[in-house]
Symmetry: C2
DNA sequence: TTGACTGGTAAGAGATCTCTTACGTATTAT
DNA sequence: ATAATACGTAAGAGATCTCTTACCAGTCAA
């Protein structure tokens, strides 16, 4: 189990889209695959990467396998990017940009 | 200008390490390269990827090129991961984990 | 049991990534 | 001017990624 790096797992737009899909709840593979213009085995392989990164978990339901989102590894990503927050804030002050984007 | 995806740019541990380095201020290429066990051209190529992702900017100083961090594209990453915050919080409530990690 | 459905894995093709060495250009020093 | 320094890019090797098709096992329905 090489345990894939979460940054590597989310580098693929397809895999990010799968995670987005799973926000609505667990889904069987054939359901996930229906959303993409690629074969089911290809989706299966993306799911494997996500599983190895700990971003999804598999639950067997009859002959289906439901994939459930597990967002916890994304905290690593949040924390890493968060350390740079002061830089873009600094940038904003410096350039007078984004001042009204308090959101 | 294919403009590289920021998720792709930060997928590499080397490139994340370069960004971390540049937090201490702009540095010339030979200085950055000294921190890695690879040749200077290899580092140069990583810097190109970061530049194309908008994560660093180049400033010419004499015969050196100083690379300066520009963290703004990381907001995209923060925002994306942030949308999943409720899921890991949900997870925490559900499993009774992380309850004291209020920080 | 037989047949349909769900989904994983293997093998291989082609694209892409990530290094290396070789070389060219611009700037600075002697 | 000549040499040294700083750096980019080109070309190519080898690894890895991302698909495909082919095939397998497990589950459910008739």
């Amino acid at each position: 189990m090489p345990d894939i790096d979460v940054f590597d797992a989310i580098a693929s737009p397809v895999r990010r889209a799968i995670l987005d899909l799973l926000q609505d709840g667990a889904r069987p593979v054939h359901d996930v695959a229906a959303s993409f213009a690629m074969t089911r085995p290809a989706v299966s392989q993306h799911l494997r990467v996500l599983r190895q990164a700990g971003l999804v978990a598999e639950e067997r339901v009859g002959r289906e396998r439901h994939y459930r989102l597990d967002a916890r590894p994304l905290r690593t990503v949040m924390n890493w990017a968060g350390h740079y927050e002061r830089f873009w804030q600094h940038h904003a002050r410096l350039l007078g940009e984004l001042l009204e984007e308090g959101e």
